[in-house]
Symmetry: C4
Subunit: 189 residues, 4 copies
């Protein structure tokens, strides 16, 4: 039984998170191109958040598949991850409605940093559950190293929003791509 | 383990999408027949979107059941499909509130086209995973051909909204019926 | 594989329906007893809808467990049931906000009638899938008979709302109790 | 088949409950620190509710895993638990928007008390399903005793909100910690 229900519950939460983001798209008052154009920034931020959460989900899939027992640390680092992710719809909507202002962009970075750090802790917990010197253990160590790089990038994006939000946006867009690129999907080893 | 979690996650997302559409039905300010009548166009558009998404879901069910490995292309074409579908509540609400205007109707067509194209890519990916000359492979080729016809129809519905929204509506209503009719549900071959 | 995914998808939809109803409880503008008191009718209607949907869910559980193949009729009568149920949050909110007016109460009856009729069709489909003269077949015939009685009661509650909403409310409250009482939960036979 | 679908359905409902709470965070009208600061109390109450529901979920996981048959009492005490939990987003939003006022805080206590009492009944039902003198039975008796202590604390927090909301807050924060501390996660025995 073990970790199956944690996976199912996490999937449920992530499915709701990724879907309710669209509720922030208020239906325009009129049917003009101008009203549609006003939705474009929001749509782009939504697409970015969708891709980032999808990325988290794929990695979550690979990570939890290797979990050996649902320890308390695993449970709570997973819940911390879900909590951080649950704030993504809020910061997505805020960035979309106040684009150009540094504070929402920095807040977006804070939420992503929190999610990434929770993921790193989750990775460490599951790495420690693997047999010593096993390939799975070194895979997870690589996963944790990569997550740490991502965390540093998100951490940099926070103050950089006050220099230029474009730099922060670039980091936000680069992260899911960086996450995906080198990881072979379909195998945790 | 394989594709089971992808199915479960997709089901979760689709279940939320199909259900939160109803949140666009604002509770009328009064309890009059007039207020109820004002909801009728919205209810019809909602029923159409519900049937279309249900249709996507049934086809998704048959498609993913034949998937042999959760490759990266499969994962991302599936996520593209979910992303396109996640915009259905928005365009549904927009068409319902601005019925008669061509732009929301054309946008509805764009979202449905994007979803159908993602589905065609997903079908191609899974077709390529079937053994050469197997019946499953030819079934999937038929599925992809049919999806391409649907995509062309949705593509036509976009400019036609500027000629007559009734024509576009007719295409939107015809599509889920066309999808269902020839496919024997209960078997992918 | 069969009907498992239909059950899982239906569960997802029902879980969202039963939960988003609470979004209609607007947070009061102030923290007074008066504001809390104003929520009481809504809370009662919500509790009624929650119990009714829970009841549908329990029966759905028993019904689908006996399904032998996911035929097209089964699929679409199930989707009709989910569609009717998806309108419950709307009519619940309307009854709660316009209590005393007959039209919302009659609409509530219409939605419940539609859901019950879909359930009866679903029951007939699954009854027909059982071996002739099997105990399961006679159980399902009993289930369909009972559902028909419920449908007649809901049908009566619609015009009766214009005589007295209290009579309709009484029917709405009696239905889930009637549904539960004689059915032994834990066995479909 | 048994209790698996009850677990899956409960997980779906809890996943939606824990996620839609975030919809109460209205996107600020501007991008100022002041607007962000105004969200802090809401964020803290949200974090508390998230942790409490997560806690309920973990315990629910352990409790239902030991269920032997989906009896009617089990079904309905579980639904009572889900109903009480479904009101958590409402009271969370109310406490967050009216912090300092005793009535929302007391209402929060009432909802948590109702959820805890449903949990105690659920625990009693499942305890009675265990073999007499089995270790599982004594584990569940300990679980019920602990739940009763939690219920008494929540019951005290209700009138105490009129003495000092800080005392009630302290109880609310202490409860999930108390729940977790002595229970070894990863085993029901």
């Amino acid at each position: 039984m073990g970790t199956g229900r944690i996976e199912a519950f996490s999937d449920g939460v992530i499915a709701v998170i990724i879907t309710i983001m669209v509720l922030d798209f208020k239906i325009p008052a009129d049917a003009s191109w101008h009203a549609l154009g006003a939705l474009v920034p929001g749509l782009l931020v939504y697409a970015l958040s969708f891709a980032t959460i999808a990325d988290f989900w794929i990695n979550h899939h690979h990570t939890l598949a290797a979990a050996r027992e649902p320890s308390a640390t695993l449970m709570w680092s997973n819940l911390a991850l879900l909590f951080a992710m649950s704030l993504v719809p809020f910061v997505t909507g805020w960035v979309a409605s106040a684009h150009g202002s540094p504070l929402p962009v920095a807040s977006y970075g804070v939420v992503m940093l929190a999610a990434t750090l929770s993921f790193v802790v989750l990775g460490l917990v599951i790495a420690a559950q693997q047999p010593i010197n096993s390939p799975a253990r070194s895979t997870f160590r690589a996963f944790v190293r990569k997550g740490s790089v991502v965390a540093v990038c998100y951490a940099l994006a926070i103050p950089l929003a006050y220099v230029s939000v474009v730099v922060s946006y670039t980091i936000f867009i680069a992260m899911p791509i960086f996450y995906i690129l080198p990881m072979r999907i379909g195998g945790t080893d």
